[in-house]
């Protein structure tokens, strides 16, 4: 039970003023600009865009600054902001086959058209702290090499040609949108992907990891992981044709998983899919594992009771803004609830003591 409580305004105002001062920190240190956050903490910016579910690097950088680097708080700010925006429409589905890739690797094929492109990766770094970064150094410069400037084919298309992997035929159904209607479970795969791509990275990572450790095994290989820019096109009703309205960076992961076959399907590989805003490869890989794990029913696999097979468990607990809201509300005043609990326990104790006294 919640009761409106008056008072505390001065304390709240002063707490917020102090928050602002703490946010700025030591005045002897230069203030961080939004442009610096955007440019130099870009992976934090990408996470806030992905889980805030709004692609706008400047806003995400501002939210990180305002939230003092608390990314879940920043995601909350972005989610709150997006509710103020009118919905101008929905884009045509982006074509990731046309992505201008800066990174593209496959764990299943060594030699593939377009090659293995590492991009700006942490992989193969030694994870030793680089104290040179603590001092002001010269700007690093990347090497260059002649580039073909053409789209590289999806690895899955190669397997698909031979019928070695389940087909993913083109469709044009209007997908369910959990930002418009409450999620209804069981949901479509489209609804699940929307919930997972905006879900908490830590939660999705742990769910994916649990499948690798044996809780709902799906034996995933990364068929392809690609990062790069794609064009976003939208039909403009007053024009009667589609135009590009911008360009966004995405991370896409496709997994290849074992499948024994069924009465109607011959043995073939199956797919898990991950697609996330920004350079967010840990999330995209995890997403593809969780997507595949949740497909057990349609593929006729056994339900083993694993958490990552439980759609309700995964989808209802993936959102860190919802989780934070419910978790943290218990710190807010519950004086009346607690008062009634207090009186109940006092009464029960009095009854116990009275019975004991009567027995003696």
């Amino acid at each position: 039970m919640y009761v409106a409580v008056k008072g505390g305004e001065r304390a709240i105002d002063n707490a917020h003023a102090w928050l602002a001062e703490e946010r700025r920190g030591d005045l002897g240190v230069a203030e961080l600009s939004v442009a610096q956050i955007r440019a130099q903490l870009s992976l934090a910016v990408n996470r806030v865009m992905a889980e805030g579910s709004l692609y706008d690097p400047d806003l995400a950088a501002l939210a990180i600054k305002q939230a003092r680097g608390d990314l879940i708080e920043a995601i909350f700010l972005i989610r709150a902001y997006r509710t103020t925006l009118p919905r101008l429409g929905a884009s045509c589905p982006v074509n990731t086959a046309e992505m201008a890739v800066i990174r593209r690797i496959s764990a299943t094929f060594k030699d593939l058209p377009g090659g293995q492109v590492l991009g700006p990766t942490f992989d193969y770094t030694h994870r030793l702290l680089d104290f040179k970064l603590a001092a002001e150094g010269e700007a690093a410069q990347a090497a260059t090499a002649p580039a073909a400037m053409e789209a590289v084919p999806h690895v899955m298309a190669m397997l698909d040609r031979d019928g070695m992997i389940e087909a993913e035929p083109l469709g044009n159904d209007v997908p369910a949108d959990l930002t418009r209607e409450p999620m209804e479970l069981p949901g479509s795969r489209a609804l699940r992907l929307q919930a997972i791509t905006r879900g908490d990275e830590g939660f999705i990572l742990s769910m994916a990891y649990s499948t690798q450790r044996g809780y709902g095994r799906t034996h995933a290989f990364v068929g392809e992981l690609r990062i790069g820019a794609v064009a976003v096109e939208m039909e403009i009703p007053e024009l009667g044709f589609a135009v590009e309205i911008g360009e966004i960076e995405l991370t896409e992961c496709e997994t290849v998983n074992q499948f024994k076959g069924s009465k109607t399907e011959p043995p073939q590989f199956t797919r898990g899919y991950g697609l996330v805003f920004g350079q967010t490869e840990r999330k995209a890989i995890a997403m593809s594992l969780v997507d595949r794990s949740l497909r057990w029913a349609e593929l006729g696999e056994d339900y083993t009771g694993a958490p990552a097979q439980d759609e309700e468990f995964v989808l209802m607990h993936a959102d860190n803004v919802q989780a934070t809201g419910f978790l943290e509300h218990i710190k807010l005043p519950h004086y009346v609830d607690f008062q009634s609990e207090l009186e109940l326990v006092r009464r029960l104790r009095a009854e116990v003591f009275a019975t004991q006294e009567a027995a003696e």
Partner: protein, 157 residues
């Protein structure tokens, strides 16, 4: 002869492709750069005042299958009419209203006899800078391409 709305909406495919290309280029342009290249706005009437909103970006399951909702992006739109009667539209990425107005003005002017001059002063530089930016990223990516080589093994000798 007056054009009916239907004729206006279905120009020949070549001019439609050209218009789509410049509208996309203007949408992707950095607002500051567009303002540098095209500082003075001619007189115009707003048909739709610049409005900031969100577009739901969709992906496809497995890259090729059914659509799903990936998340939104910020977009600003605007429609206007120049004194000459030319109508311009813009849907541009981000939240810069000046960007949307400028893009709509350029879209309108590109449908007039000023098109060639505007192409040279605004579109060509924007296009060149975009191509250079993309080529630079692609060249860096190309430098990180793995060149596999197989070590000579004993049994091969």
């Amino acid at each position: 002869m007056m054009q009916t709305p239907l004729e206006a909406a279905t120009p020949n495919s070549e001019s439609l492709a050209a218009r789509k290309a410049w509208m996309g280029l203007l949408a992707r342009a950095k607002p500051g750069r567009l303002a540098d290249l095209f500082p003075e706005l001619p007189a115009h009437d707003l048909l739709r005042a610049p409005e900031i909103g969100a577009v739901m970006v969709r992906g496809r399951i497995g890259g090729t299958g059914q659509p799903f909702n990936l998340g939104e992006m910020t977009v600003t739109r605007c429609a206007l009419r120049l004194g000459s009667g030319a109508v311009g539209h813009a849907h541009v990425q981000g939240r810069d209203k000046g960007h949307a107005v400028r893009a709509a003005v350029v879209d309108a002017l590109m449908q007039t006899n000023q098109a060639e001059a505007l192409r040279a002063t605004v579109l060509v530089p924007l296009q060149a800078e975009e191509v250079a930016r993309r080529a630079n990223r692609a060249a860096k990516a190309a430098a990180t391409k793995v060149e596999f080589f197989t070590l000579v093994r004993g049994e091969d000798q």
